[in-house]
Symmetry: C3
Subunit: 364 residues, 3 copies
């Protein structure tokens, strides 16, 4: 059942050399023969891979509309077992992955509270996860320490039983499947408007600390003609590293602290919440966030074909009265997470062809 | 896969108007076209629905006696996913629903400890559950707040992705599937004695606070000729609202504090424990509960065809020595919970006909 | 679906008489018609049963190498449900059993934190587990109290719905499936050297308290010619009861506190960690454990066909640099746990013949 041994770039580099690389340099190490083998950071996804994932997610979503289709999907990975290792609380990401596993027949097992593990007996976290991985064919992991998922992927790659590792969120660092679901939501939203290219995307709120925005802004450099607006209080504005990346990619962008001015321009408004759980020095305490809220009254000035997104959970950034507007796609965005994660898992196990064949039969 | 949109009464009423209705008035709002769509309170169940559920539970139970039958059952809902959201601890109710899901192939996912969810980030509970529900086809929920499951059912009914909600216990308020399993246990116990009608049912113990007894007493008004005995210390006697309901329905009943006098009369003795976890002013501290215990010595005076029930957990209300008597049906009562919950879930998904067809083939 | 009632020795003995028996005397009570019905202590396993389990584990392992084989295995017990009741934390044992269940299609349900159960309402633990067991066909349980799993097996045997009970670790007492996986690992390691018989097995570390070593030392008395070395600081040396058992069985053994002298002799070195979580009087605080560590430098003096084992988790007993040596089999040992547990569960449900038939077709 074990994957045939093939070219594995993580075996060819020492941890000391690897972990100091920047995210874009690390990307190729997560591939095998040009295909994603691990899913660890947003930077590893090329435009063809993104297009393939979005396409696959749509096929899975449509196949799942009939009982026969679900039975087909549930058969695909039913001989595999997945470990969902969530050392950091996150019910929504957990359930999204869990449901994606169930959809594909991939048998999930959960490790949630690591205080119930042998870590208390003085074992290293690496030993713990290597032990746990013995029973599974893929590891989906969330961990408070930045880079931990990469460390595990490197470690297992250097054993005789490597398995794919999916980063379901690591610290303030990376949450690549959130970026994928955002791309997929944008792609679906602009399906009839020639896709994401040349659209105006506004990010609003806490842009300094939201890993979601940082990853998505990076991925949008793969879509020519996109213009990005970063709408935030000055103290929570997007980091210069991202702007430098946009400059290098030749992407247009604008910094602003005036949401009202941006609303009529945007094709997509991506709202975020103030992440004060990361506060170390009350950075966000004195910020007047009211000016970065989206209200029912703002709907009138939004383009009729625009969309409002939010990674959720929200607090008061979006008035609940906005929820009923067809342009509010944040609940659909949640469900898109399940579809794109299913597509990603199928891709890691190289099962795209089976989906395509079934889908062609379905639509022919 | 989504249910075709049909008449949905919860879309036609504002929350403010709905939540002030009494339980009996709310009942019809949980139906669609006369069939249960949600399962939220005991009052929504009519006699034909109860008879249908009991009949279905027996068919499921008998079908499950063979491997072939279990395989048939596991195929029925295998394209669906259920969320078991248990914000309040309850292993036995949880496991009963979990096993019922497994029996029907319905893929379960568990949300147990809500401190692991994003609720800590300031999200409203409604947003949390709407998010979680995105991935599932039915929500089975237990919550400490009375009316919370109804709130969620109303909320989801007013989105474009409503799913059935099952109340697995809400505060001191409602626990409708416990009432269903009690009805099913009575019905099985009196199968050869023309059913529940005209039987004498005695409730013993803490009748003021046990939601179980309150719901069951209400449902028994649907069975003509039943006489109910309420045997309790005066401070823990059944509430006047229940007695008023019995009066309105023209049901016979008797209040008593003398268990010994009732034992020889009763067809069923329903024992309960003192629920001092709900004590706010030590109501139960000074009550002499010994007189409301059932002992081995009492068995001799019990009718040979009577049954002893208990919703469990018990403390000292029933001597363990009673367990071996064939009239002690409280362990079978537990297992009946699995069967009737399976029947309920099948009913919510409109799969009764498939069970009936299989059962007819089996017995013909 | 219930097992036909057959000879059940636990119905023929009172708890008071049973629980004072020693482990070897209890063994026969866990059998039915000479076959394991419960799996509760190491002493119940005879040599033919051990040989059968190892053989079955290897067949399962080889069958699982193809998708078709896994589908065959997943069909075997898919009509059954297992409760994994883990009142004591242990992620690795839990996951090993969970994965074994998934491999066989046996539907698992987890009860992890007993504070979420009704035990808090004053229910006896026996009542709790009897209630939970109502929904399941087998109980796999870990509990801090020695003898608790036996108590449950006795209790359920004396109801009208007995189910097999598997001890997944009880206090300092017994952890029989760990002993089974150790035997299976030794058997695999010496497959081409005529098996375990006549091998030299060295146990190193905390031998006084490790239930693992105690159980394995006992089981090795079933293999003629084995010589056991017990290498420990005097205060943590193996107990006289085990030595007495070895004497009775006529087995050779040697006590030592010099690991260096033993390394070149041994066919297997079984390393263990100092279990100071059981310390009541700082027994292990003043012990110099460095002399009982295995280091990279020791590999040169180890026989080329010897193996290094460890039940894990480890601390510093084995240098991580040793992990890459082909003689370090402790990671494979973990995975062996899944195979032997699957073999055990199949045996308790009497499904060995189906495995054998499939395996014969596969290899013929």
């Amino acid at each position: 059942m074990a994957k045939l041994y093939r070219d594995n770039p993580l075996r060819k580099i020492a941890w000391e050399d690897f972990h100091t690389l920047d995210a874009a340099e690390k990307g190729p190490f997560f591939l095998r023969e040009g295909r994603p083998y691990h899913a660890l950071n947003a930077q590893q996804f090329t435009r063809p891979i993104l297009d393939g994932l979005c396409n696959l997610a749509t096929q899975v979503r449509r196949i799942a509309k009939t009982r026969g289709g679900v039975l087909f999907l549930q058969d695909l990975l039913c001989e595999k077992r997945a470990m969902l290792y969530f050392a950091q609380p996150s019910t929504r990401t957990f359930l999204s992955f869990y449901a994606a596993c169930q959809l594909l027949g991939l048998n999930p097992a959960e490790v949630r509270d690591t205080t119930t593990s042998s870590e208390i007996k003085g074992e290293s976290p690496e030993d713990s996860i290597r032990t746990f991985s013995s029973f599974f064919d893929i590891i989906i992991m969330r961990h408070p320490a930045g880079g931990f998922a990469e460390r595990i992927a490197w470690l297992l790659s250097n054993t005789d039983r490597p398995v794919p590792v999916v980063n379901a969120g690591s610290g303030k660092d990376q949450h690549p499947t959130q970026a994928l679901l955002d791309i997929y939501t944008l792609q679906r939203s602009f399906e009839k408007r020639e896709g994401i290219e040349r659209k105006k995307i506004a990010f609003v709120g806490d842009l300094a600390r939201g890993r979601t925005v940082r990853s998505l802004a990076w991925l949008l450099t793969l879509y020519p003609g996109v213009k990005q607006y970063f709408v935030a209080p000055p103290s929570l504005q997007i980091g210069p590293d991202i702007l430098a990346a946009l400059d290098r990619a030749g992407m247009a962008y604008e910094l602003s602290s005036d949401l009202q001015a941006v609303i009529p321009e945007a094709d997509a408004i991506y709202m975020t919440r103030i992440q004060d759980e990361w506060d170390t020095a009350h950075e966000s305490r004195d910020v007047d966030t009211n000016r970065f809220h989206f209200r029912v009254a703002d709907l009138a000035r939004l383009r009729p074909d625009a969309v409002i997104m939010h990674p959720l959970p929200r607090r008061r950034e979006i008035e609940p009265g906005v929820d009923g507007d067809p342009r509010a796609v944040y609940w659909r965005q949640v469900r898109n997470g399940m579809w794109i994660r299913a597509a990603l898992i199928l891709t890691l196990f190289e099962r795209e062809r089976e989906i395509e064949r079934y889908y062609q039969d379905l639509t022919s």
